[in-house]
């Protein structure tokens, strides 16, 4: 009985932390409609900050607490809302969620940079460490009592705030009807800023309390948010009292499990799988169940949707792209060092994982936070299935994972948007804890995935595997484009654009979503099954999925090119980090930073880039000229006149900086176009002429030089060229009549209209 009391107290104290975190989530979600995945990360940063002030700089606890909770946390919340979140109104749920993923990645990178985990660090002490109070015959630490007290105070303060203050009433008004509040003189933006500040304080408080119990570790603090989701979802993301009740239930379940699993009769394994991962999975399981018992999301007409502007590539473009990708990779693969080959290989593997999101998120509009989990399952299936890596084994592995993907989605499919995304996150954490972290699955921490056995071709080298993965990406990419052009592809788009219209036209939404999930899981499985090497469970951890989701969305999740961009960028990051250790920390923050700017361009970066090249279509003269230039640069390299680095830098410069501006240079009427041409040529001469191996001595510095070169000469060329009036290849009704037309444009209008004066 006394033991039960002990565990009840432990459970309530854990629950108190969950309650504080969860209430912060609810406050921001209700007032700004953004579900903040980075909420736990905020608490983590606050805990580190508090540690810095209290234990490293030895400030007294009250002062350190005051600075952290009442100055830095609210400031952080205010800035987050003002700089990042405010621009997201009216964007898709995918974009909104991705931006919080970006914030998440950014904060982890920041913490790793400022507080690297190199062992020796002052301990994070509990409040009143060592002091206990006897309750019912057992000794309870003051820290636990303070934790519980904090939750009670938070509950009371929130209640008073929401019901007794002007700001609270304004918050509730915004929750109820944002536009109506605005029409009545309320200021939703100010309310949202206040809510984000409050939320950051709550996250900070929870982070500090938890760190006292568990020490400063990034991962448990960050994943605190998953546990809090469960409580918040029990509260329907709205009701604070129910959220607190949910948190208490979670804490108690955790404590009682701890108590019972200590008994000798408690099974230690089930069907060969150890059950040690269960305790850590309890919140996830509760989250899963809470999501499942939620009422089915109702079909609603008239919800605001965002139009994506991705053009469907024609077959010719797609095949041309796929072939040139393979050719380029084969071409450069001989020039790369072993480690760079492996990094590029990794980039293509990640690109395949990102590609798995194109049909699911890009086409069908369903968000998944677990793409890497399916890749991991693919790797496990490939290594456990008989056949030692022949094509049939690969097909079987893909099929199995696709079925798993559909099976996972089946119970969650009634949900939509954020709820579906969270249930995939819950699934990813569950698989990580129960399967990937099992010694049975990954013998001695690793499994070796057999190399794909293709008749007559030996791919048993990094170079072979690189070419294989680039080919696999190209083929899968063609498959995804074929899907987009197919009957099912149109259905996926229809599902995204208007589920309600699709349903009333006779589409079985569940079946269509299942198909999307199965296809996506199958593609991701390829990435794992083709690993062809030893893989470790950490590679497929849930937190590793998030940067991929992020960069796929940044690249443009609606296009195959976007997936390639995202994967290679993430892979390229590793090249940079490896080459220049001092840049390592910046590369950790970079995915986050790129993602945070997402709100401004929801279609992704690749659509912007391809927009630049669009005018070149049908200009065969210029295309051939560019291709000739490329061949010429390659020939210089092949004949050893220039080094590989000069080839790489010159090639990138030629295609990214010079080619898009060729039209302006060739067609422009302004005398300045010659200047633009001269700048471009100078840039090319510099990039080809410098002896890069001598001038700068490491990969990272060379890459930086490349960026500088493109920035100076490329942007220069573009600026000068853009000043020259160009012929607009647009129809007259697209010309803005509020802007004075240039003589060229007038000619164009007249030509389009068929009037000649």
């Amino acid at each position: 009985m006394q033991e039960l009391l002990t565990f009840t107290i432990i459970g309530l104290s854990t629950g108190a932390i969950y309650a504080v975190v969860a209430s912060g989530l609810v406050v921001t979600y209700t007032t700004s409609g953004i579900f903040n995945l980075a909420h736990g990360a905020t608490g983590m940063l606050a805990a580190f900050t508090y540690w810095q002030l209290r234990f490293d700089w030895d400030l007294p606890a009250p002062i350190a607490l005051f600075i952290t909770l009442f100055i830095l946390c609210p400031l952080f919340g205010l800035l987050t809302e003002r700089i990042v979140m405010r621009g997201l109104q009216g964007t898709t749920e995918v974009v909104r969620l991705s931006v919080t993923v970006a914030l998440f990645a950014f904060m982890i990178g920041l913490a790793n940079t400022v507080w690297p985990s190199d062992g020796s660090r002052e301990a994070f002490l509990k409040f009143f460490e060592g002091n206990t109070v006897p309750i019912g015959g057992i000794n309870v630490s003051w820290h636990k009592i303070i934790t519980f007290g904090c939750a009670v105070v938070v509950a009371i303060v929130l209640r008073l705030l929401l019901f007794r203050t002007r700001m609270g009433v304004a918050m509730r008004a915004v929750v109820d009807d944002r536009s109506l509040t605005e029409l009545n003189g309320g200021r939703p933006n100010r309310v949202a800023m206040f809510a984000w500040a409050l939320s950051a304080m709550l996250a900070g408080l929870a982070g500090i309390l938890l760190a006292g119990e568990q020490q400063l570790n990034i991962e448990p603090l960050v994943l605190l948010v998953i546990n809090a989701y469960a409580a918040a979802i029990i509260g329907g993301l709205k009701s604070l009292p129910r959220t607190f009740a949910g948190a208490a239930v979670l804490g108690l379940l955790d404590a009682y499990y701890l108590q019972f699993s200590d008994n000798s009769w408690f099974p230690q394994s089930f069907m060969g799988f150890g059950l040690s991962g269960i305790r850590a999975s309890i919140p996830t399981i509760v989250l899963f169940v809470a999501l499942l018992v939620r009422p089915q999301s109702r079909l609603r007409a008239g919800t605001v949707r965002f139009r994506e502007e991705n053009k469907v590539p024609s077959w010719n473009t797609a095949v041309l792209g796929a072939v040139s990708l393979i050719v380029v990779v084969v071409g450069i693969s001989g020039m790369l060092t072993r480690s760079n080959t492996l990094f590029l290989l990794n980039g293509f593997t990640l690109a395949i994982v990102a590609l798995s999101l194109v049909p699911l998120t890009g086409y069908a509009g369903q968000m998944s936070l677990a793409p890497l989990t399916f890749a991991g399952l693919g790797a496990v299936a490939m290594s456990k299935l008989p056949g030692d890596g022949n094509l049939l084994t690969l097909l079987a592995a893909i099929t199995i994972v696709a079925i798993v993907g559909a099976a996972v989605a089946l119970p969650a499919i009634r949900l939509s948007g954020i709820y579906l995304a969270l249930s995939t996150a819950a699934f990813a954490v569950l698989v990580t804890k129960l399967i990937f972290n099992q010694r049975q699955t990954f013998m001695s921490g690793n499994i070796s995935v057999p190399i794909l056995d293709i008749p007559f071709i030996d791919i048993n080298s990094p170079r072979g595997r690189l070419i294989l993965s680039a080919t696999a990406f190209s083929l899968l990419g063609l498959g995804v484009i074929a899907l987009r052009r197919s009957r099912l592809g149109r259905r996926l788009i229809a599902l995204k654009d208007s589920p309600v219209a699709a349903a009333t036209l006779g589409m079985n939404l569940t079946q269509t979503k299942l198909a999307a999930f199965a296809i996506s899981a199958g593609i991701a499985a390829c990435a794992g099954a083709l690993a062809g090497d030893k893989v470790s469970p950490q590679q497929y951890d849930f937190t590793q999925s998030l940067p991929i989701v992020l960069l796929a969305v940044v690249g443009g999740v609606g296009t195959v090119g976007g997936a390639l961009f995202g994967g290679l960028l993430l892979g390229g990051n590793a090249v940079l980090a490896n080459a220049v250790p001092s840049l390592k920390n910046i590369t950790k923050i970079m995915p986050g930073l790129t993602g945070i700017t997402l709100g401004r361009n929801p279609n992704g970066a690749t659509s912007q880039i391809s927009e630049k090249f669009r005018p070149l279509l049908n200009r065969w003269g210029i295309i051939s000229f560019s291709a000739l230039g490329g061949v010429g640069i390659w020939a210089l390299d092949a004949s050893r006149i220039i080094s590989h680095w000069a080839f790489f830098i010159g090639g990138v410069f030629w295609f990214l900086a010079v080619m898009p501006n060729l039209i302006a240079i060739v067609d422009g009427t302004s005398p300045r176009r010659w200047w633009a041409g001269a700048i471009a040529l100078t840039g090319l001469a510099v990039s080809l002429g410098v002896d890069w191996d001598q001038a700068v001595d490491s990969t990272g510095k060379r890459l930086l030089s490349l960026i500088l070169l493109v920035a100076i000469f490329g942007v220069g060329t573009q600026r000068v060229a853009e000043n020259a009036p160009r012929i607009h290849h647009s129809s007259p009704d697209l010309l803005g009549l509020d802007v004075a037309l240039t003589p060229d444009e007038l000619d164009n209008v007249e030509r389009e209209l068929g009037v000649t004066i």
Partner: protein, 236 residues
């Protein structure tokens, strides 16, 4: 037996009775109007018929088959199609693909020719390769009608198809609707453009505060004192 029979249908949102016991019939080959002031419950009734909203009580049948608890896509297979008051086109697909998706869902055999015929019929052939999201409201409404027709429906529910159309387009729409019914299609039309409703409908139901307050021919409805009161707030 009527094509669509609605019996005692009731929808309650918490304490609010949106639809309070409605009986309504739509005959094959006829256009039935459903009019009423804003908030009368017209769109809610549409949602109940198309399966987006469960009725609190009551029964809906098509061709004598009770469909009250079927999912929206099952109802579509039974010959129900609808358009939306706020446009629900597949904005990133082309106009042609919008209609094609519907035809494919109905498992038609000669899809390409059906799509072309329907685009021709509603008069948007020239827009076939435009992205649906770029269309002005008037054309978009016509595309929604073409898309609904592509499922080969027996009963078409139109939710304010003429809003956003200019006078000549609205006239064309009237003619189109009459043509459609000649092939036996039943239409339930919610519309605020009274001249259109009075011109094309065979019979009209008037809904106010969730109740049917009048039912009859256009001539009858135009002179019904209760209708005038519901619309103008005072007896004439």
């Amino acid at each position: 037996m009527a094509l669509l029979e609605i019996r005692e249908v009731m929808v309650r949102f918490g304490g609010v009775m949106a639809v309070g016991g409605v009986d309504l019939d739509v005959q094959a080959g006829e256009i039935t109007g459903l009019i009423g002031p804003n908030g009368a419950g017209k769109t809610t009734l549409f949602n109940v018929i198309s399966g987006m909203q469960d009725p609190t009580a009551g029964m809906i049948s098509v061709n004598g088959v009770d469909i009250s608890h079927e999912s929206p896509h099952r109802r579509a297979k039974r010959g129900l199609a609808r358009t939306f008051q706020r446009l629900e086109l597949f904005a990133s697909l082309t106009v042609r693909d919008n209609v094609r998706v519907a035809a494919e869902l109905a498992s038609l055999t000669n899809i390409d020719s059906t799509v072309d015929r329907l685009l021709e019929k509603v008069g948007v052939s020239h827009l076939a390769d435009k992205t649906a999201g770029e269309l002005p409201t008037g054309s978009a409404r016509l595309v929604e009608i073409a898309r609904a027709l592509a499922t080969g429906p027996e009963l078409l529910l139109l939710d304010e198809p003429a809003s956003g159309l200019d006078e000549s387009e609205s006239d064309r729409l009237g003619t189109l609707l009459r043509e459609l019914t000649e092939d036996g299609l039943g239409v339930l039309l919610v519309e605020h453009d009274m001249s259109l409703v009075m011109r094309v409908c065979d019979s009209i139901y008037v809904l106010d505060l969730g109740m049917i307050i009048a039912h009859g021919t256009p001539e009858y409805i135009q002179h019904d004192p209760q209708v005038l009161q519901a619309y103008l707030g005072a007896p004439s």
